[in-house]
């Protein structure tokens, strides 16, 4: 605009100087100054006109005209507020929903990790070749140290593993989620403490226990006291030196709950048989930073060589781990959520497409009413291009308004989604509208505007002006091609609606199936929590006796039906796989099978209503001094004792404490299979040891109550603290909550897709309704004539409903065909339902047709109420 003004000023100056020269010449010819001026002006002509004509030669600067068109478009839209508001609202729904989902995609998948050169950060693991497909296995400390020392492709490779510690905070002992990290952890990530020093190699050695505090923990527990650096804090009965404090916002690994601090691996290197020396103790997650210029593939090849060497060198522990897995960290972190987000984004794009078709239909109908206006403009010289430009500008204006309203809507939608969202999706809590989202909205708005504007504009610019002028005010404007386009738009809307309905229907059926799954235990009225009883080897007996006393006290509480303890709790994220050998079936140590390990106190299976299939439950005889025993589940019995009776067999499991050092255990019972990892997962083979004979980790208390379990929580906490004030109670929840969470992801997907389907159905119905209403108005004359000639009201009604039904059927067939392809994309999200499920298809089709008929009825009824005489007179 500024360049244009400057240019115009220059042109004016150029013309002015010409005029002055002209005037001079006239004076030289002998005219008086005044006469000369008039003569010059006469000879020169109309200066404004010359200027305009010259400006046209510039060509590329049509801004002024564009502004004029824009003003005109604005006036037009404001003159029809009903139409404008309808369009903007529909667009806002489409753009808002798309923006909300894109915000999630952006937050979870697209935003880079908050570390310098995040593309060089990779997730590293080892491949378990005893399992089919990609099967990552954690590293052990000795493996990790070898990888760290021998690789040639990494700038650094760091280990981290989750831990919970007991710490006295504000006079109360608490369990905290922390991470145990190698000393180069922060350097590999490219982060540095804001206070104090980084961890050093020395901090990995026995005796040098150190911690790095998170900013929020430093704030909340140490009052942001800088003097804390260098002092020591006590946890798990040991003292740790505070090395430093990480800056605000630093978080890794990104999980829920976030680690409150990071401790050095010194404590893993201490004790009789330290974890840092056990090659079979695979617990470490590993992140590495690639050397610049090194590809993921090169790093993978490099580390696989090391893994291969270790497998040969230590076949007992490493035989099956002969190669490495390397993946970009971001891709690994978000890998699980990728398909679901992709489906949601696809679904919401369909909604947006439907919105486009819907608004295009509205514009087309309105355009027909305006055909006289366009004809007039064409008749007085507007080119088709000018009319298209005018119409496109109007639709762009509409879609930009829709975009602004959509952002507002997206804000609300994101809030709503966050409360529904399964917390397992990494980074989701930080979902917010950022610059990239705004750019996305702009692009989507413009693209939408062009898309829904293009068809009507193209169509309307082609109507013959003379005919339209003649018939302008009357009904027949538009013509056949326009009807075809409008019909096509409605069919497309119905088809998209059908696709979304089928998708939502399938997910709903699948979700119902998931809820119908028998988990193998009864979650009703079961309250769970853990207590942090210390594992002190010298007081092993007391540890178990504490639990025995605690269970006694709790069972005496009013309202308690049964109480016990076990580990791991079904649907919790904990699990352990430990190798074992069956007596009488000798195998090399490297070829020993391994399965899921569980721990149980007497009464655990009964409290959880896990059925006992054969043999007996653990009892008092399986205590600290009893014979070593073991219970297996049905899947275990099927796999390892397909022809024998499992009861009485002997199994030696690769775990032990100082009282029970890898004893041979007798199988005393078989229990039913339970869904431990999730409702949709198969039940794995499992075996359980009596807790008294394997004091490995604090079990979950399970308390079956008579009524609602929640109020019991305080009483349980009191019972614990009566026994020992220093023991923290944590992870309190009901079993129902665990079950609910385990279905959170499908619930979320089903809910969102259903919302989209409902919006789609409503819009498709509105589209159909709009088309038929418009048709009734257009064909008033024809309907009136027919009635005058003897047609019954029912005939008119039938004609319109039939038309609606025909269009709906066409859309339905098209939608079914598209779904046949598209539902394959969600087959991975379905459980117990095939993508071609006939029940879903039939129900969806019935719903769509019913809604279509309903949408057709109103205009049809209006047509049947037409008064033929009045109609004919008016026309």
């Amino acid at each position: 605009m500024r360049g244009w003004r400057k240019r115009d000023a220059e042109l004016q100056r150029e013309l002015q100087s010409d005029l002055e020269l002209e005037e001079e010449e006239q004076r030289e010819n002998g005219l008086s100054p005044e006469e000369a001026r008039y003569a010059a002006r006469r000879a020169f002509g109309n200066e404004t006109l010359i200027r305009e004509q010259t400006q046209e030669a510039w060509g590329w600067m049509r801004l002024e005209q564009l502004m004029q068109d824009l003003r005109y478009a604005m006036r037009l839209l404001m003159r029809a507020p009903g139409f404008t508001i309808t369009c903007v609202l529909i667009l806002a729904i489409g753009i808002g929903a798309t923006t909300a989902i894109f915000t999630l995609v952006n937050t979870v998948l697209l935003r880079s990790l908050p570390f310098p050169e995040p593309d060089r950060l990779v997730w590293v693991s080892q491949q378990d070749h005893s399992l089919p497909g990609v099967a990552p296995e954690s590293l052990s400390y000795p493996d990790y140290f070898d990888w760290r020392a021998q690789n040639h492709t990494l700038d650094g490779i760091a280990s981290y593993t989750g831990a919970t510690v007991t710490m006295e905070l504000k006079g109360e002992s608490q369990r905290l989620d922390v991470q145990t990290v190698s000393s180069n952890f922060f350097r590999v990530l490219g982060a540095a403490p804001m206070l104090g020093r980084d961890l050093s190699w020395e901090d990995e050695k026995p005796g040098n226990r150190a911690v790095m505090l998170s900013y929020s923990f430093w704030q909340s527990e140490f009052g942001a006291e800088p003097e804390i650096v260098g002092k020591s804090i006590t946890m798990n009965g040991h003292s740790y030196t505070v090395a430093g404090v990480m800056p605000k916002g630093f978080e890794f690994p990104i999980e829920n709950p976030a680690p409150v601090f990071w401790k050095s691996i010194a404590d893993e290197a201490e004790g009789k048989s330290p974890a840092s020396e056990q090659r079979g103790f695979d617990t470490l997650s590993v992140i590495a930073r690639l050397r610049s210029g090194v590809t993921v593939e090169q790093a993978k090849a490099d580390l696989s060589v090391i893994a291969g060497n270790l497998a040969r060198q230590y076949p007992d522990n490493n035989k099956q781990y002969s190669s490495a897995l390397v993946e970009p960290e971001l891709a690994h972190m978000t890998g699980d959520t990728r398909p679901a987000l992709r489906v949601l984004f696809g679904a919401v794009s369909l909604v947006l497409l439907l919105v486009c078709a819907n608004v295009a239909g509205l514009l087309l109908a309105r355009g027909s009413r305006r055909s006289a206006e366009f004809a007039l403009r064409a008749a007085i010289g507007a080119s088709p291009a000018a009319i298209v430009r005018q119409l496109l500008l109007e639709s762009l204006l509409l879609s930009l308004c829709g975009g602004v309203a959509g952002i507002a809507l997206a804000f609300g939608l994101i809030r709503a989604m966050l409360t529904l969202m399964p917390v397992e999706i990494p980074r989701i809590e930080s979902a917010s509208i950022d610059g990239r989202v705004l750019v996305f909205v702009l692009i989507v708005s413009v693209a939408t505007g062009l898309l829904f504007g293009a068809f009507p504009a193209w169509r309307l610019s082609r109507s013959a002006p003379a005919r339209a002028l003649r018939e302008g005010g009357r009904s027949l404007a538009g013509g056949r091609a326009q009807h075809r386009l409008h019909n096509g738009l409605v069919v497309v809307q119905t088809a998209i609606g059908m696709v979304l309905l089928i998708g939502a229907g399938l997910l709903m059926r699948s979700f119902v199936r998931i809820l119908d799954v028998n988990p193998g235990f009864d979650s009703k009225h079961v309250l769970t929590s853990r207590v942090g009883v210390p594992f002190d080897e010298t007081k092993h007996n007391q540890h178990y006796i504490f639990y025995q006393q605690l269970l006694e006290r709790i069972s005496a509480l009013p309202g308690v039906q049964a109480v016990s303890a076990g580990w791991p709790l079904p649907m919790s994220r904990f699990s352990a796989t430990v190798s074992f050998n069956i007596q009488g079936r000798p195998v090399a140590m490297a070829d020993q099978p391994s399965e899921s390990l569980g721990l149980a106190m007497p009464g655990y299976f009964e409290t959880m209503k896990i059925p006992l299939i054969a043999g007996r439950d653990f009892g008092e005889q399986d205590g600290l001094t009893g014979q070593p025993t073991i219970i297996v589940n049905q899947a275990f019995a099927r796999r390892y004792f397909p022809h024998d009776n499992p009861i009485g067999q002997h199994i030696q499991v690769g775990v032990g404490d100082d009282l029970f050092d890898h004893p041979v255990r007798e199988v005393v019972g078989v229990i039913g299979d339970i869904k431990r990892k999730g409702l949709t997962a198969d039940a794995d083979p499992e075996y359980y040891l009596p807790y008294a004979q394997a004091l490995i980790t604090n079990p979950y208390l399970v308390v079956k109550t008579n009524g609602g379990p929640a109020p019991m929580q305080a009483a349980i906490g009191a019972a614990v603290h009566e026994l020992d004030r220093s023991v923290p109670v944590y992870q309190a929840a009901t079993m129902e909550e665990y079950l609910y969470k385990s279905a959170a992801q499908p619930r979320f997907q089903t809910f969102l897709l259903s919302c989209f389907a409902v919006i789609a159905l409503a819009l498709a119905a509105i589209g159909l309704y709009g088309l038929l209403s418009y048709m009734v108005v257009q064909r008033t004359l024809e309907i009136g004539l027919r009635m005058a000639l003897g047609a019954q009201r029912g005939d008119a009604l039938r004609m319109i409903v039939l038309r609606g039904l025909t269009l709906a059927l066409a859309g339905l067939v098209l939608g079914m065909a598209a779904s046949a392809v598209l539902t394959r994309l969600i087959s991975g999200m379905l459980f117990g339902v095939r993508p071609t499920d006939p029940v879903t298809l039939a129900a969806t089709a019935a719903l769509l047709l019913a809604v279509s008929v309903a949408a057709s009825c109103v205009p049809a009824f209006r047509a049947s109420r037409l008064d033929p005489m009045k109609t004919l007179r008016e026309q």
Binding site: E14, G45, N46, Q53, W58
Partner: protein, 119 residues
């Protein structure tokens, strides 16, 4: 585009005016007024330049890169004018247009005065 011919309007073929301007600029840089006067004078006032044709043509030629313009001091007076000069591209274009015009003029001549052709 119209060029006034002794008071009567005559539509000249598209491009003729462009050619005349380019040819005129062959003498050296000129401002708009000079170009107009030059064409007028050379044709003994037969062709009278209309400003409404001249300036759009000049700006069009400039946009196509056939002429370039610059505000310069006039040699004989203490004032700046916008001078147009022929570019290399313009020189080539002039050759093209000239040969086209020649072919056209010959074609017209053959129809109008066939005798001359026979003779």
């Amino acid at each position: 585009m119209t060029i006034e011919q002794a008071g009567r309007r005559a539509n000249l073929l598209q491009g003729t005016l462009d050619m005349l301007i380019l040819r005129t600029l062959l003498y050296g840089p000129m401002h708009g007024h000079q170009i107009g006067k030059n064409i007028q004078r050379t044709t003994n006032d037969f062709l009278q330049m209309q400003h409404g044709s001249l300036y759009p043509a000049l700006h069009r030629l400039e946009r196509r890169g056939w002429v370039s313009s610059k505000w310069e001091m006039a040699p004989d007076r203490n004032r700046e004018f916008k001078y147009y000069r022929l570019t290399d591209k313009g020189r080539k274009q002039l050759v093209v247009e000239e040969s086209q015009w020649k072919r056209m003029a010959e074609a017209v001549a053959r129809i109008m005065w066939p005798a001359a052709e026979e003779g």
